[in-house]
Symmetry: C2
Subunit: 120 residues, 2 copies
Amino acid sequence: MARARTTLDAFNAVAEPRRRQVLGLLAHGELPVNDMVHALGWQQPQVSKHLSVLLEVGLVRVRREGRQRIYGLDAGRLKEIHDWTATFEHFWQHQLERIKERAEAKKTSARPRGIVPPRG
Amino acid sequence: MARARTTLDAFNAVAEPRRRQVLGLLAHGELPVNDMVHALGWQQPQVSKHLSVLLEVGLVRVRREGRQRIYGLDAGRLKEIHDWTATFEHFWQHQLERIKERAEAKKTSARPRGIVPPRG
DNA sequence: TTGACATATTCCATTATCAGAATATAATTT
DNA sequence: AAATTATATTCTGATAATGGAATATGTCAA
């Protein structure tokens, strides 16, 4: 078996750094392909191909306008990722607290560095 | 060129659904490999291999205890993803508002469905 | 209908993933 | 030292994504 399809879900689509760049660009507003080509400095086919992945996953929407195609964000699928990571939110908060605790209580310096036991 | 390495960053590591399962499991607390094998119902080598990816990316930490290796979450890298998606948070909020607006104002029924213009 | 412009698709070569099976390493017990 | 337990690594085969180059499609203008 191979790696999961890029178009399987938002997680896979967004794993590609360039695709995140495209989404970041579209965060400023809708754009026709050529504007993205210029803004990103890539070949036009690459931009189109990345857009087609984003479109298939539903991270982006298109609209025709003359011979142009105007792309815009469809952020709903990003919320899935946001929600999933939010599940772990208290872990990194907890971790930050521990870092603070350690910085303050410098007396015990030779303790083995264990993992934060996530009880509960 | 091929796809970005799985170990390039948290985005790629987490794109694999099974790796998200592992992280979800570890959210309940630290676990030795064998417990994960039983909890997940996969072959031991697959569990170890996924763990090694998560380890290389820094999403997970290990600790030796006898012949066991106890794995635990290291959620810091997940925060990167959370923060990135948070950039787009207002887009889906905006989208929800628009859905509400439409539901309330049902008079204009035949408008072309355009994209929310994200004028920042 | 020819030409120009905007965008999408196809073909190619390279590369890496993933599951599964087999095997290797490492620590513990007898 | 041999057996046992826990975990990691290697090999294989199938799959597919990526950029680049070339080309196709689609739309508008003359």
